[in-house]
């Protein structure tokens, strides 16, 4: 799925996705934010951050026509990425290729997210989620292994 940009709503949110969810870009993770040691930064534009979120939030339609989102139960979050031309796109300033959208919000609040390194287990999609993503061709075996080993 290619990376595309999306317009911002008047209330600063993006969306909704076809699940009815909104996204808000957090200032300290933005490409234009000043570097902080504990805050990763996107290297893509705000409207493109939403694209990464939308891909993960809307997920895939399986053979039985169920919509399966990229939700990781182990870490209570969505993991997103852009897999295009057999490569994972770089989305973070520090060469991150995976984004995390934590589910730490009230039900009707917008989601937010940031790029992560998979070195730490809380920033790594579970093996079960990766099984599903690989089966449906959302990610290749090469990148799946790199994620499992915490190398990207």
């Amino acid at each position: 799925m290619p990376l595309t940009t999306h317009p911002r709503n008047p209330n600063q949110t993006y969306g909704p996705t076809n699940r009815g969810h909104f996204y808000i870009s957090k200032e300290d993770h933005r490409k234009t934010a000043a570097p902080k040691k504990d805050k990763t930064r996107w290297c893509i534009r705000e409207g493109e951050e939403y694209c990464v979120f939308k891909i993960a939030n809307e997920g895939i339609i399986d053979e039985e026509n169920n919509q399966i989102w990229w939700y990781c139960e182990d870490n209570d979050c969505l993991f997103g990425f852009v897999f295009e031309n057999d490569r994972l796109l770089k989305i973070g300033e520090n060469e991150e290729q995976i984004a995390k959208f934590p589910n730490d919000r009230n039900e009707h609040d917008p989601w937010h997210g940031y790029p992560v390194s998979t070195e730490e287990s809380q920033n790594r999609p579970s093996s079960e989620l990766l099984d599903r993503l690989e089966e449906c061709g959302c990610i290749s075996d090469v990148y799946r292994l790199r994620i499992e080993k915490g190398r990207i």
């Binding site: 390194s117 070195e119 499992e148 080993k149």
Partner: protein
């Protein structure tokens, strides 16, 4: 000079491969492991051409013989070295491609759940790590035909997710990411691996050996150097290939009671610390790839009373290619006089400040065999097309 290359294609796609005791151990995507002697690969390609068979057999099976004392004397004779170099030049850069069908492999073993995160052969045993833990089996190799057989079933010996393995001196270091680093030991000949219940360190991404000491990487750009306690033993408690004549019989009895963190190791070069992009080690030194594109190689291999006696910058180099300077590093492995770096979408051999591209696509596995006796200069790379073996020019 470019390395010699053998490309082996299989009808079922591969996930990983490992070279041990003259055999390729191959993990197939259908969940099986099969073996193939290197000599059979060469026989299939060269047929009756004994001269070239022998040349390649030496390059891929006893690469270490090029640099031992006898070879030093032999290659001091200019004509012999020239003939050897000319022959290498005839084949380097070319590609010897060989197809193997399913029924041409020897042994067969059903593996636990794929993907396999890592597997190692050591002490005539095979260790396989995946999401469910670490599995172990013994192997036998027939000295007449190099045929592998598995002595017992593949049994789970450790039940935490196992992502990286490295072995030396009767010890297997078992990396389990956020569950930590564990010490596995071969305590009895033909016995299963015994893994300690408590972790040596709480975080581990991968490990390496610095002589007989352990380097534990908690992230791609940070490590602890863990000192080991060891003793000389009369007999090894594990089996080894009859062709390997290493006479050192050292047993590791403890790991990490004493350690140095990276800041301590780099106390003489503290300006490097915030600039490290990726770090890994060879048996005697450590390579730092910096954010400004520089590569630095530092020796830190002498210790006494919690003091590092030697941490000398051995080499600093800024590569010409922007790709080598700037791309994301996925893994890096040492060879005898250099290293192999896996980038996001390429693999580069770096030797003597020279960059030699080996692959220009993302790959599944890159392995070198720096602690092996026979394969110090061999590289194996698995991708969707099969497995490529490279023998690095010895001079």
């Amino acid at each position: 000079m470019k390395p010699l290359k053998l490309s082996i294609h299989t009808s079922i796609p591969l996930q990983d491969g490992y070279l041990y005791a003259g055999n390729l151990f191959l993990v197939f995507k259908d969940g099986t492991l099969k073996t193939l002697p290197i000599t059979r690969v060469l026989q299939k390609y060269f047929g009756e051409d004994v001269e070239n068979f022998n040349f390649f057999n030496l390059a891929f099976s006893r690469n270490s013989w090029y640099t031992n004392e006898q070879a030093d004397t032999l290659f001091a004779i200019e004509n012999i070295k020239k003939t050897f170099t000319d022959n290498w030049e005839k084949y380097n850069g070319g590609n010897l491609e060989i197809e193997f069908s399913e029924d041409e492999f020897d042994s067969y073993l059903k593996l636990p759940k794929l993907p396999i995160f890592d597997f190692r052969l050591y002490g005539m045993r095979m260790f396989v790590g995946n999401r469910d833990g670490l599995f172990d089996t013994g192997i036998d190799i027939d000295p007449k035909n190099a045929k592998v057989s598995f002595k017992d079933s593949l049994e789970r010996v450790f039940d935490a997710r196992t992502t990286y393995l490295s072995a030396k001196s009767d010890s297997l270091l078992v990396t389990s990411n956020s569950d930590g680093l564990f010490h596995g030991r071969l305590v009895q000949t033909n016995g299963r691996l015994v893994v300690t219940e408590s972790p040596i360190r709480k975080e581990s991404l991968r490990t390496g050996w610095n002589g007989y000491n352990v380097v534990n990487y908690s992230t791609q750009n940070n490590f602890d150097l863990l000192l080991t306690e060891r003793e000389q033993v009369k007999e090894r408690t594990f089996l080894y290939s009859a062709a390997d004549e290493d006479s050192k019989k050292i047993k590791i009895t403890g790991i990490g009671e004493e350690s140095f963190n990276m800041d301590e190791v780099l106390s003489l070069h503290s300006d490097l610390i915030d600039n490290i992009k990726y770090v890994f080690n060879a048996p005697k030194s450590c390579y730092f790839f910096l954010k400004n594109g520089e590569f630095i190689n530092i020796f830190f291999n002498k210790y006494q009373n919690r003091n590092l006696l030697s941490r000398k910058i051995y080499d600093t180099w800024k590569p010409d290619s922007a790709n080598t300077r700037n791309s994301k590093i996925i893994s890096a492995n040492a060879i005898k006089d250099g290293c192999v770096v896996e980038y996001d979408d390429s693999v580069i051999l770096i030797k003597g400040h020279q960059e030699i591209p080996l692959k220009t696509n993302p790959v599944l596995s890159v392995r070198t065999y720096a602690t092996s006796i026979r394969y110090k200069n061999i590289i194996s790379i698995v991708d969707r097309n099969g497995i490529d073996l490279y023998s690095v020019f010895p001079f």
